[in-house]
Symmetry: C3
Subunit: 307 residues, 3 copies
């Protein structure tokens, strides 16, 4: 297929064919990071600006490295030390940066919809690196890539997403991507963390972690974002959460032989999953990170519209 989109705002708007095209493009780039000279000249002379209004380590570094390996110039930009404190609107900031001849803006923002707003107001490409509780498309794409790489296909698999479904942009983007590619998605967690109308997205709801472990081919263990849950308590205690939904060796005994464990990171060791599982043979967590780079190279390359 011929890629026509200028932006990557989310997986909701992509067709299955488009998603597969990104994954295939990523495959050709994955090899680059294994070379001793990890560079291709694809985006030479282009400029990518990382606008991160929320703190991030891995996504920020991953996008920067992806841009560098395509030979693009990258510029960082964070909330602190910028004009945000001077009261400039986000669109004005973006228009100013655009006027400097920037080709791609990678945006992380605490408000859902900001990437779309920028895409409607500036001429350069916008890549969503996470917007509020809305979408985190490159995370879902790297999850899809990793599942396809390990399992050979996505269609027909049962994928469990476990944890705080209600507040998770990772869950939302994964659900869009997985269902489009033909997987059966099971969302697992306490009732307080699963939106009432989530079934409309085509997923099954499951409150029983043991059943999920038994039935799934893939378990994506979401991070319990302690820092986002101050002020209200979605579950009585962390101990109870671990008891009901934590992934332990005991619970894994009933799993399929080829069940794989994913996590978007950073891992709360001993909460979502035990340290032995995080570092164990079923875990593909670091492979996700590795694939993230290839996926982000593919996304930057495609939205740049380089021939």
């Amino acid at each position: 297929m011929i890629w026509k989109r200028k932006h990557l705002l989310g997986l909701e708007e992509l067709t299955a064919e488009e998603i597969v095209h990104i994954l295939n493009t990523a495959e050709t780039f994955k090899e680059v990071s294994t070379r001793s000279i990890k560079k291709v000249p694809a985006l030479q002379g282009r400029t990518v600006v990382n606008m991160f209004y929320e703190s991030s380590t891995r996504t920020n570094l991953s996008f920067q490295l992806a841009a560098r390996r395509l030979s693009a110039d990258t510029l960082g930009f964070s909330k602190s030390g910028s004009s945000v404190s001077k009261g400039e609107t986000l669109v004005d900031t973006a228009k100013n940066i655009e006027a400097m001849g920037v080709d791609i803006m990678v945006l992380r923002h605490e408000c859902a919809g900001t990437p779309k707003m920028l895409a409607e107001n500036v001429g350069c490409s916008i890549v969503n690196a996470g917007d509020g509780q809305h979408e985190h498309p490159t995370q879902a794409l790297l999850d899809l890539y990793t599942i396809r790489e390990v399992k050979g296909t996505i269609e027909g698999l049962t994928v469990g997403i476990v944890g705080d479904i209600a507040h998770s942009r990772v869950a939302r983007s994964n659900i869009w991507g997985l269902t489009k590619l033909g997987a059966k998605v099971m969302v697992v967690g306490p009732a307080t963390l699963i939106p009432k109308d989530i079934k409309r997205m085509g997923v099954e709801v499951c409150f029983d972690m043991d059943r999920a472990v038994e039935e799934c081919d893939v378990l994506n263990m979401l991070r319990i974002q302690l820092e986002r849950q101050q002020g209200y308590n979605p579950f009585p205690s962390m101990r109870e959460y671990i008891h009901l939904f934590g992934l332990t060796n005991d619970r894994l005994k009933k799993a399929k032989d080829d069940l794989i464990i994913m996590h978007p990171g950073p891992v709360n060791r001993g909460i979502e999953l035990s340290p032995e599982i995080a570092d164990g043979p079923r875990s593909v967590i670091l492979r996700q990170v590795e694939n993230g780079l290839a996926v982000r190279m593919a996304v930057l390359f495609l939205v740049a519209g380089v021939e």
Copy 2:
């Protein structure tokens, strides 16, 4: 002419011929940013360090991008996370950075005169990116460039600078540049924000915004720097300031057909000017930003003394 200066400290010290030479050099660089590969090898292997002791988005990014497009290596450096907190003097910090083989230091500092002090104490080139209430030469140069580009010439034009003249390094640098190039400069604002002896700089003082709008060919609307005015009140209320000096559609009715509106950014929408004017056909605000890059490429190139 042959450029001989090693530093760019301010427009006060430049001759009209030198200013025009920078603008002409910028013209040759402007085209680079319109290419898909936005690079020239002019400063390959040179190192530019951005020392920003005051927060900044556009100036900082613009200098970084300018250096990159000349193929220089750039390094950022901000007050937080540096040895400033360990009590090192600025000259010692600069001498250390110089000892690492840095070619150009771009300095923004809250104290007037610091670029000059560094120029007298280190061997590398110093570019002033704003020092206290003293000068902001590259901002004035990009303003001059934009006026010349739109109007064809600067000589003979009437340029109004509106707002907080007393605290504005942008105003001071613009006044030096505009008067040297033969424009008539009118400073406009409440009496509390216009220095008593400003006429010595060769400008006309005007307290009547309506008259300024009528007579000027260019209006440069300075930012009301709310963050600098805590503790004393130069005007009774923001509402009164807007009433007397804000640029509204109503006020524009009496303007010349070809009046253009400038602003150094970031814009306080609805204060200095209405949103419709900021985004309207008279506004050249984003063109200023675009030209800023070309002007900064020219400045870095010239002070580097590359043949």
Copy 3:
């Protein structure tokens, strides 16, 4: 010799031959920084990540510049704005960064032993840029380089290290390096700042600054790290410290003609040494900084294992 180490964790573990090999390699790189095009392609396509969990100006910039001059890609990473605040372990952060295909991590951390811990847990090269009160190997290497450059040799010299020996990783790394290369080391300072068992490291302890000035060929004046000594007072007053151990012109009168003065920076002018001495003919402080770049280029080049 053939370099075989993948990491640079400290000077304690290096042989004299290895230290000399680093210094000799640095010599070949020093010339690069004097060219107008300050680049060699040695690490082209490699990625160096600076992980600085303690604030730093000169070491951070020096490592970044060193990597750039070897044509490596560099990425910064600081405590603020990262996932550290999300509770991720350091090893997990490092494994994630490694998974992105990073070749070398340069680590500064407040805890002694963290570089070793990372070296045992990740596959990429670790360079210690200062760990707690343990070691700061590249600082000692640049000190050794500078002494050798000025004096011709290190063997047989008497080197005084003056100040807070107890808390100084610079002192420890210098002692390892100097004694291995055959210098006589004298540690000088108030008894409260000299560890009881320091003699085991093969040094002489001296409480008399005047004698040290008389006997030494090199004086390395450590920084009084005021920021680390809150809460307890190792000496009655700063005035008393200066009186007993500060390097003044008066005290220098009895020095050998070719005594040289070093300081790891940032200098507290008027405390460890007087401003005239810091800027005087005996001072090699800026030469240390200059050599630091060459030494760090050599270290990055060697641990990268490039043929």
